[in-house]
Symmetry: C3
Subunit: 132 residues, 3 copies
């Protein structure tokens, strides 16, 4: 298992991991298999999204802020129940296909760390499983 | 990695992939392991749902239309920020268990491609990882 | 593939599976690889959440009840379209990393079965894939 450090700067932020993940696959000389990308946090998530227009990311964060308002009369004393809920809705792990050493993504896809309770120092854990 | 072509006919549509996925496992003579099903798009998703009453699918699409309205004052110029958000909420990949050559699903489960910005020509990517 | 039986007691309930999953890995002497945790139901989900403050779980269930009300004019005659939608939003499978025989989770993370249409007798299916 490999750990990637991620530094976030805002309460809600979407950070591109694609380059770091491909770089690690290169270092490992990983050829064909699957890559599990995992967030060990409870107020963040791993997701996929468009890598081209930054408006897609800001639209998403803005929509989520309205969908799960921070102050919704939650009981949890830390005041971040909304962050836990967003993490659950977007998922803690994602599994990707690797072929010929390349992370297989659609043309417009990037892999993202979604921060819902920053700024914080975070980690992403990754594991490659070879086929055959 | 194998590619399955999917043709969608509406903006929002749920298409059953179960038969195609099992057929490919049969061709490959895949026995025991896991199957990763991946959508290389940013405005679609892979999910699981009831395979019996079609009302479950239409209820879900109708609910999502209300939850993430297409015209919510989004900035993204293509006018499909709602499709990106729905894709993220429903996930881009799903991992299934395969035993004795059979895709292990609950009695009422089917595996679905969820189109949120059709009609389009889409692909689903699949990879089988054997155990042992 | 191994089956874990889960008994739920309410319509909406979040049940910790972490101990059972680690116990099964111990029995199997599983060392390094990934663990796929799968729900064969269409009105339940597998997720991750905080294992410390029980308010996080009740806040989440309360929020979901408001987000997807049971009586939203759904067509599905069984009256549980809301449960199907919540299952889709929270996902049917999750993949975890295993190192040195240990399920790799963040300090505050637990793995949960999310019941959205109980009380019922449920199952969770698990499969371990070793690396190397």
């Amino acid at each position: 298992m490999h750990r990637i450090k991620v530094k976030t700067h805002k309460r809600d932020e979407i950070i591109d991991l694609t380059r770091d993940l491909q770089a690690w696959l290169n270092e490992e000389d990983a050829r064909s298999g699957i890559l599990v990308v995992y967030s060990p946090h409870t107020t963040a998530a791993i997701s996929v999204n468009e890598n081209y227009d930054p408006d897609v990311k800001s639209d998403m964060l803005c929509f989520l802020k309205g969908l799960v308002p921070q102050n919704s009369g939650f009981a949890h004393a830390e005041g971040n129940s909304d962050s836990h809920i967003k993490g659950g809705l977007f998922n803690f792990s994602q599994t990707f296909i690797v072929e010929d050493g390349r992370l297989m993504l659609g043309q417009w896809q990037g892999i993202y760390f979604m921060e819902f309770d920053g700024p914080r120092s975070r980690e992403v854990w990754v594991k490659f499983i070879a086929d055959g």
